[in-house]
Amino acid sequence: MTNNITLMIGGTQGEGIVSTGNILIKTLSRLGYFTYGFRNFSSRIKGGHTNYIIEINTKEVLAYGDSLDILIAFDMESIEVNIDRLKEGGLVIYDSIINPENYFVRRDLGFLSFPFTDIAKKYGSCIMKNTSLLGLLGRLLNIHSQNIKDTVEETYKKKGQDILSKNFTVLDKTYEEPIENEEIKTRYNLNTSISEKRASMIGNEAIAFGALMAGCRFMAAYPITPASEIMEYLSEKLPDYGGIVLQTEDEIAAITMSLGSSYAGSRAMTASSGPGISLMMEGIGLAGMAEIPIVIVDVQRVGPSTGLPTKHEQSDIEFLYHGAHGEIPLIIVTPYSVEECFYQSIQAFNLAEKYQCPVIILSDLALGLSRQTIKSLDKNKITIDRGKIASGENLEETKLDFRRFDFTSDNISQRTLPGFLEGIHKVTGLEHSIIGTPNNYPDNRKKMMDKRLNKIRKLESQNNIDIFGTTNSSLLVLSIGSNYGIIKKVVEDYNLPVAYGAFKMIKPLPVKQLKELTEKYSKILIVENNARGQLASIIKQKLPCHDKFHNLLKYDGTPFKLAEIKSKIEEMI
C-alpha cells in the first residue's frame, strides 16, 4: 500500500498515450486521489518518442518526482531513453511484443511483460492496447474496473457502441490475465481512505473556464502551441452562451479584433505564446493608450524565435514587463497553479475593466499543459465587476462629446459604449484630449501620461505574493508559474525549513510587500526558467539589495528537477 507513485507511460507520438494518461488521471481524480501529469512531446505529429509522467498522491501534488516507480513501455526506445530514471527496485512494464530484459544492465529492477497488444488485437484492435494498459494499471493500483470503464465510456462514446464494448472486453480480459509475481499485485495498491470526487484540468482549460465564468464572450485568436487549448475550450462552450470565438488571419488581427469587441462592450480576450505575443505588441500599446480593457494570455514556451515550441520556459517576463514601445499602463498576473489559473483569469477581466487597460495572464507550458487534480473551485469567488461603464440611460443630454478621458481623482474615467445615446466620443492611438480628439499640447500630454500610468500604481502596495512554508526561516524562495508546484513538493517532501512564495502579480510589482520581505529574510532565492534571471532583474530595478538576491536558473527546455532545487536550497541554508 502506498500514498505516492510516480509512473511514466512511454511510446510513439500519436498512438494514444496522451488520452490514456488523461483517462487515468480522470479516473483517479474521481476517486479522490491527487494526480499531476506532465507530457513530454515534440513538434511532430506522429512518430518519435513521447512520454507522459503521472504523479499519483493521496495529498495535493503539483509536480512529479525525479525518479520513477513504474515505467510502462510500448517500445524499446521508451525503455532506452528512460530506464535511468527508475528508482532503485523500480518496475518496468513492457508490451510482450518487445523483449528488453536482456538489453539492460540494471539488475535492481523488476520486469513485467504484459500482452497489451495481444489482448487488444484479440478482443478489439491494436490501438486498444492503451485500454489494456489502463486495465493493468487499474489492477496494480487497486482500482475497480468499473471506475475505468466509466471514464473510458465518456471519452469514447462518440466512437459508437461497437468500439466501446470492444474496449470493455479488452479491459475485462486485462483484469483477468494472470500475473505471476504476487508481490507486484499489491506493491502499488493505493491507500483508499479518500472518496471526494475531484476535477482534473490543465492550466489552459482553467484559464478558459475562468474566462467563461467571468463573462468573456469574445475571443479572437490564432492557434499556437502551447496556448491553443484556451481557444479550443471556448470554441466549444462560448456559442452556448451567445459568445463568439473567431480564428483570425494572424495575431495582429487577434489582438485588434478583440480590442474592437471590448471597446464595443464585451469582455474579450486573446491567447498566444512568444511568437504571437511579439506580433501583438503594437496592439497592446494601442490598448494602453486608448484605455481599452483587454485580457491577453501568454503561455510561455522556449524562445527566442520559434525556439522549442513544445518545451517549457519562462522567458517573456521582461519583454512583457517593459513593452510595448512607449509607456503604457499594464497589469501582469501570474497564476501558479491550475486553481489560480481559474481565479486569476476571472480577476484579470475585473482588473482590465476596472483599470481600463491590458491585463496579461502570464502562464507557462508546464502550467498550461500539465493535467492535474484540483481542489474544488469555489463558485462564490466568481465576481464580475465591470468598472466605470456609464449607464447608458442616465447620461445627461449634451451637445458636446462625452468626456471619455476625463481627469478624475483615481485617474480612471467613465466609459460609454458605442450605441449609448449621449456617449459619443473619439478614441485614438494618438495622444488626445479628454474627449479623445488628437492633442499635442505639452501640458495635456503630461497630464494624460500621468493619468494613465498612475491609475494602476496603487496596486504596487497590494500583497501579491503568497507566502508558504517556514516563514520564520532566513531563506525565502520566490518563483512564478509552475515552479511554485515544484518548490512546494521539494519543501514538503524533504521537510526543508524555508519559506517559499509565489507571485500572483508582477506588474505592478508588489514593491511594498517585497520591501518587507527583503527586510524580513536575509536571503532570497529566485527560481526561474530563463537565462537572464528576468524576474530577479525586475525586482532589482526597484530594490537595491542585489546581494540578498540569488538566482536559480534553468533554460534547457525542461522543468526543474526536485533535486536541483533541493541542493540549491540546502547550499543556501
Binding site: 476535477a199 456617449g423 492611438g429 480628439t437 488628437p438
Partner: protein, 286 residues
C-alpha cells in the same frame, strides 16, 4: 429633413485645401443623412494616414486606430454589437500595404461592415512615398528614379477575396459617391468602396483632371450585369480598373446569419453572469 449638419462636429480637418478626402467626408455625412442614421448608432473606424483622420470629423463614435488595423477592430465591434452601422475607412497604404492581410480576410469573412478606401495612390501623411496602388514609373521620395512595380488592382483583389459588394467612387463625383455609400451600407455583408480621392499635394499625376479624363461610369453602362462574378472580373480588366460605380453585388449569407441561432442576442446584451451553469460546466472535468 436630416441634413449633413447632423453628422458634423466642430473639429477642423487638418487636410490640405483641395484634398479629395473632404468630399469623402461630406459624402459619408450625406449618405448618413439620407439614411437618417442615429449618430450614436453610427460607428466609424479608421486607420492611420491623412485619410485616417476622418473618424475624428464626424459626430459619431469614432475609433482612430493604428496603421492597417481598422478592419479587425471594426469587425470586432460589429460582432459585438450588430445594431451599429459600422464604417471602416483608411488610405490605400492602410488597406493595401500594411493592412492587406486584414483586407483580404475581412472580405472573405463577410461581416456586415462597409469599408471605404480613400485611395490617393500615395502615402500622404508621410509626405509622399509610394503606395501599392501607385503607378509604374511614379516618382516619390522612396522611388526617386521612378517606381518599378506595377500597382495592385484593388477591385480584382476584392472579387478574388470574395467581397460581395465591390464599387468605386471619385471625390469629384459626389452624388454618385453618396449613392454608392448608401447602397454599400444597405448591402447586408461586407461592402468595399475604392474611392479615388486625389492628394493635391503629393500626387501630381493622378489629379482630378486626370481622373475626369480616364474614368468611365459603370452606372451608365447598361450592358454591365453587376450580379455576375465573371462579368465583374471581365469589366474590371476591360476598364483597366478605371471606372466608377458598382462593379459587383452578390447577396451571399452574411457572417451573423451563418452563426448558430444561439447568437440571436448581440454580445453586448448578453447576461454575463452564468454562475448557475458552473456545476454543469465543471462536470466536464470530473
Amino acid at each position: 429633413m436630416t441634413t449633413v449638419k447632423k453628422y458634423q462636429n466642430d473639429v477642423t480637418p487638418t487636410w490640405c485645401p483641395g484634398c479629395g478626402d473632404f468630399s469623402v467626408l461630406r459624402s459619408l455625412q450625406a449618405a448618413a443623412a439620407r439614411l437618417n442614421l442615429d449618430n450614436h448608432n453610427l460607428m466609424t473606424v479608421s486607420g492611420i494616414g491623412c485619410s485616417g483622420r476622418i473618424s475624428g470629423y464626424l459626430k459619431t463614435y469614432g475609433f482612430h486606430s493604428i496603421h492597417g488595423r481598422a478592419l479587425p477592430i471594426a469587425q470586432g465591434i460589429k460582432l459585438t454589437n450588430p445594431e451599429l452601422t459600422v464604417i471602416a475607412m483608411g488610405g490605400d497604404g492602410d488597406g493595401f500595404a500594411i493592412g492587406t492581410n486584414h483586407t483580404i480576410h475581412a472580405m472573405k469573412r463577410n461581416i456586415d461592415i462597409t469599408y471605404i478606401v480613400m485611395n490617393n495612390q500615395i502615402y500622404g501623411l508621410t509626405k509622399g512615398h509610394t503606395s501599392p496602388l501607385s503607378e509604374k514609373n511614379f516618382v516619390t521620395k522612396s522611388t526617386p528614379y521612378g517606381h518599378i512595380e506595377d500597382p495592385l488592382r484593388p477591385g480584382l483583389l476584392a472579387l478574388a477575396s470574395g467581397s460581395g459588394f465591390v464599387a468605386q467612387g471619385f471625390s469629384a463625383y459626389q452624388e454618385q459617391l453618396i449613392d454608392i455609400i448608401i447602397k454599400a451600407i444597405n448591402h447586408k455583408g461586407f461592402s468595399f468602396i475604392n474611392v479615388f480621392s486625389p492628394c493635391v499635394t503629393f500626387n501630381k499625376v493622378n489629379t482630378y483632371q486626370w481622373f475626369r479624363e480616364h474614368l468611365v461610369n459603370l452606372d451608365e453602362d447598361s450592358d454591365h450585369d453587376k450580379t455576375s462574378f465573371q462579368n465583374a472580373m471581365n469589366k474590371y480588366i476591360e476598364t483597366g480598373g478605371l471606372f466608377t460605380g458598382i462593379l459587383y453585388e452578390n447577396k451571399q449569407m452574411e457572417y451573423h446569419e451563418r452563426l448558430s441561432k444561439k447568437h440571436k442576442t448581440p454580445i453586448i446584451y448578453q447576461n454575463l453572469d452564468i454562475s448557475e451553469s458552473f456545476d454543469k460546466l465543471i462536470e466536464d472535468f470530473i
